[in-house]
């Protein structure tokens, strides 16, 4: 993608269609703070933070960088990387039963496996380690379940995810030595890890072999036994990919399983099988011509590939711009890469730079906006299912679960895909706009959260979302105060003219029909479904 961009730049003398402030209207004040808070922490800013930021733009800009040290930033990183790494799936080749686990921990088992590589990435970022450590780390993070079923030595920790070390002689290679990644991207015995090589380059170098045009009619006969393996080594059309794909695959044979549904095979690293790469593929391990001794050096070599840093930047931009990057972003991505490299690959510094940019902060278009910019830029974003979950939980304490499964984080019986999320297999890109099912999920979540919060606040043991509203009705001063406070807290702005009466009328109608408590429940429900709440 960027190679193409460079051609455009060199031929055209400049990047075409570079969006500028002439076309974009930036978000400001509390709406900007709201976006920053949601993207960094997955929760809304508090009223105190909104007050602090309202003093001046300098006050606002000094407030949010500290949020990178909030533990919730790590959770956001897990969620955002899950959208790209696609490891948080609901099914693997083995199940909890294969490890004699109780059904009640099935969801925890699945998420522990799926998040294992993501958690390492998020910890590297949260701990201010160089991003390259994600493929060189000699440690991993595990939950108690993983500590029980995998060969890992888990440090004593009260944290759900504790630093751990593999005990099966696997080389230090961070995520490319992770079970979670290779359970998701497994190889059949006769694929010889080629699919996994392709996953490595897609995820870590933004080089997707599967996007390359392939015409099998240009290859020699592929019908007879051995034809395919011969063609891979001799046909130009096949070699174009396999000449670099196969040597990478050759370094992964410690993860080559004789049986792809065997939990013991899948859980351990098989150092004794490392030489099979050369034997079965006929090539020595290397990364794009750079010889490596095996998996450990493959990780090191990846960090030296110039595409590694570039890919990290592209991936981060995709996460926070909420759109795919394209050649028109070339200059901005180049600048971001310089920042990233100048910070010794500190991912927080990279994200901070992205969040300071006008593409991230776009909140609307001017009258001079061009068609291409209007079609490309996301000036308002919808809350993802994971974000809806964290926002609502922080506000109300409500968690949407059934039989231990997070209903906004899974699809077995849950609503992750219907709410615009990715399931990692059938749906691999998050929704960028509202759909009927997203709106319906939001409706039910809003109803559940409102019912839970209001019932709790009326009982005196709730989340205190209704700080002064309990016992008040439309016409009472406390009603006005509560609405004003909720609008600020939930929408990040002051009450507008006519708005109080609008909520008041709804409140009065429901109170007349049912009760004061029900009326507050309705007010909160419509606020949680409000376009200003669910977008940012």
């Amino acid at each position: 993608m960027l190679g193409f961009a460079m051609i455009v730049v060199s031929c055209g003398g400049g990047v075409v269609d570079e969006p500028s402030s002439v076309e974009l209207v930036p978000l400001e004040g509390s709406r900007l703070l709201r976006r920053l808070s949601l993207d960094i922490r997955g929760v809304l800013p508090s009223i105190q933070e909104l007050d602090e930021a309202s003093v001046s733009s300098e006050a606002l800009e000094s407030l949010w960088p500290a949020w990178f040290d909030d533990p919730r930033f790590e959770e956001r990183m897990v969620d955002l990387f899950a959208e790209q790494w696609l490891t948080r799936v609901d099914d693997y080749n083995v199940t909890y039963l294969d490890f004699h686990l109780d059904e009640s921990v099935e969801y925890e088992f699945l998420r522990s496996v799926g998040e294992e590589p993501l958690r390492l990435i998020a910890k590297v970022i949260a701990n201010d380690r160089p991003f390259s450590e994600i493929v060189t780390a000699d440690y991993m993070y595990s939950t108690e379940i993983l500590g029980d079923i995998w060969p890992v030595d888990r440090e004593d920790s009260s944290d759900e995810w504790a630093m751990s070390r593999w005990t099966d002689d696997r080389p230090p290679a961070g995520v490319i030595a992770s079970n979670g990644l290779w359970w998701r991207y497994y190889t059949t015995p006769f694929n010889y890890n080629r699919g996994r090589s392709s996953a490595i380059t897609r995820l870590l170098l933004c080089e997707d072999y599967l996007e390359r045009p392939v015409r099998f009619t240009e290859a020699p006969a592929l019908v007879d036994e051995g034809d395919t393996e011969n063609a891979i080594k001799s046909s130009e059309s096949c070699m174009a990919c396999h000449i670099s794909l196969d040597p990478m695959a050759s370094a992964l044979f410690g993860f080559w399983w004789y049986e792809i549904y065997d939990p013991a095979e899948m859980s351990r690293y098989h150092a004794d099988r490392e030489p099979l790469g050369k034997e079965l593929l006929g090539v020595e391990p290397e990364l794009y011509g750079v010889p490596v001794s095996g998996l450990g050096e493959l990780g090191q070599a990846l960090t030296l590939d110039p595409r590694f840093n570039q890919c990290a930047v592209q991936s981060a931009a995709t996460m926070f711009w909420r759109r795919n990057v394209s050649f028109v972003d070339f200059l901005r991505l180049s600048e971001l890469r310089q920042t990233f490299e100048a910070s010794d690959l500190n991912y927080k510094a990279l994200v901070e730079s992205i969040l300071l940019g006008e593409t991230y902060r776009a909140g609307g278009f001017t009258d001079e906006v061009g068609e291409a910019t209007a079609a490309r830029e996301e000036t308002s974003r919808i809350m993802s299912p994971e974000m809806l979950s964290s926002v609502i939980q922080e506000l109300t304490g409500f968690e949407w679960e059934q039989d231990g499964w997070g209903q906004l984080e899974s699809d077995r019986t849950g609503f992750r895909v219907l709410a615009g999320g990715v399931d990692g297999v059938g749906v691999t890109q998050p929704s960028r706009g509202p759909s009927l099912t997203w709106a319906l999920v939001v409706k039910r979540l809003a109803q559940g959260a409102a019912d839970y919060a209001v019932a709790g606040d009326y009982a005196g043991d709730g989340p205190n979302l209704l700080s002064v509203g309990v016992g008040s009705s439309y016409g009472d001063p406390n009603f006005d105060l509560e609405i004003e406070r909720l609008v600020l807290r939930l929408f990040g702005r002051a009450l507008m003219q006519g708005e109080l009466a609008s909520y008041g009328e709804l409140f009065a109608a429901v109170e007349a029909e049912e009760s004061q408590q029900a009326a507050w429940r309705s007010v909160l429900t419509v606020m949680f479904r409000d376009p200003e709440f669910v977008s940012y």
Partner: protein, 412 residues
């Protein structure tokens, strides 16, 4: 000026002779057309049905199968598959088979994406989503996904998924939230209506692009909620039951497209690296369901007052084919060339276009006529998509990477 056939093809390919839409059919008829997609995931073996390659000695054909023809369709016949034979005998005249489509991948995920979108990279909508998007704006479920994949990038609001466990149904009736771990009490219907209207008004009063999209979605949701009880929205039944859900949506004027994934008899899957014979079982059950589909279409009346069989085009496809040779597990491995079948509205039936050569590769085709033509085009996933878009009256050039439709199977 005399125009030779070759020149004619060149001119028409460049769009110089006719606007491309005119090569297809009347825009009005096309824009009314609905599409039922039946996706056979895993890679079907075309030599069990669409590719009677008995004269090609590199291909391991099924034992005891024979070449047959019915309704103008050459197919592979076997005594254990009476439904295949019956289907072509009854409906071959309105059916077109496309052979030799090159999908350009033998990896399931990528081949699937290519067959659905014509692109290997993300950011593209699939054919059903595009067609659904360009349907009437009043459609509440423009593209209803009963089961199977959907790639939605730019037109996500066109897609409505039922959920693999019928989640849409539980969302509509509220049990999704009332039966969760935390007990929740929902307000009565009257209050919910008040809330729905309040939120809709808020969205309508907004000025952002998001507000417009959201209000449109909410409007459709409010309308759909009132009639959803007329449809069985459970997505986990038999193929016939799931197809019936899509046809319900067509009948009620809710949808323009619908997709159902068919994983074969007892969900054994089409990815037969071992035990290739189950392909035959799958085809038999599939065609039995297709016969039932046609019968159901004939009995149902759409919102325009005419039989759904006049309005609906059925598209049956798989993401890839299977290798010509049996492997050591009595299965067949992946193969990049495959076939697809279309029948019903808009299809110029009773014909097979494309074919397989000595190497079991796809043969080039004259797109204007659908005939084999040595200097023609080798069919790809994009030609397949362009054909569907042309049948739907959608500007295929914008979404098929410039690849033209196979006009030879589009009824003039």
């Amino acid at each position: 000026m005399a125009i030779s056939r070759r020149n004619f093809l060149g001119l028409s390919a460049a769009g110089a002779l006719f606007p491309h839409q005119l090569l297809a059919l009347s825009p009005e008829e096309a824009s009314r057309r609905k599409f039922l997609f039946i996706y056979c995931r895993g890679g079907w073996d075309t030599t069990y049905c669409f590719a009677p390659e008995f004269d090609n000695n590199i291909i391991d054909m099924e034992v005891d199968s024979t070449a047959a023809e019915a309704g103008g369709i050459a197919f592979v016949d076997h005594e254990t598959r009476p439904s295949v034979r019956a289907f072509f005998e009854r409906y071959g005249a309105s059916t077109a088979v496309i052979n030799g489509i090159e999908v350009r991948s033998i990896a399931h995920e990528k081949a699937q994406q290519l067959m659905f979108t014509g692109a290997a990279s993300p950011g593209y909508d699939d054919w059903p989503t595009v067609i659904g998007h360009f349907g009437e704006s009043s459609l509440q479920l423009p593209h209803v996904n009963v089961s199977g994949p959907t790639y939605a990038a730019n037109f996500q609001d066109a897609v409505v998924r039922l959920g693999s466990a019928g989640q849409l149904s539980t969302l509509l009736n509220g049990t999704s939230i009332t039966e969760g771990t935390i007990p929740v009490t929902l307000p009565g219907a009257a209050i919910q209506t008040l809330e729905d209207q309040f939120v809709l008004n808020r969205a309508l009063s907004g000025s952002r692009g998001f507000d417009e999209s959201y209000s449109s979605v909410l409007s459709h949701l409010n309308e759909f909620g009132s009639i959803s009880s007329q449809i069985d929205l459970v997505a986990s039944g038999s193929l016939k039951e799931r197809v019936s859900t899509v046809l319900d949506c067509f009948e009620l004027g809710l949808s323009r497209c619908g997709i159902v994934q068919y994983d074969g008899l007892q969900d054994l899957g089409w990815d037969t690296h071992g035990g290739n014979e189950i392909q035959g079982w799958h085809y038999e059950e599939l065609f039995d369901a297709l016969i039932a589909t046609v019968e159901s279409l004939q009995q149902r009346v759409g919102p325009t007052g005419q039989s759904l069989s006049e309005d609906v085009c059925v598209v049956v496809f798989s993401e890839m084919g299977r290798h010509p040779k049996i492997n050591s597990h009595r299965g067949k491995d992946h193969w990049t060339f495959t076939s697809a079948m279309l029948f019903g509205s808009g299809v110029s039936g009773g014909r097979v276009v494309g074919g397989y050569d000595d190497m079991f590769y796809g043969m080039p085709v004259d797109l204007a006529t659908g005939d084999l033509y040595s200097e023609g085009s080798r069919l790809s996933d994009k030609h397949f998509g362009a054909t569907l878009l042309a049948l739907a009256g959608v500007d295929w050039q914008e979404y098929s990477g410039g690849m033209q439709p196979i006009n030879g199977i589009i009824r003039p």
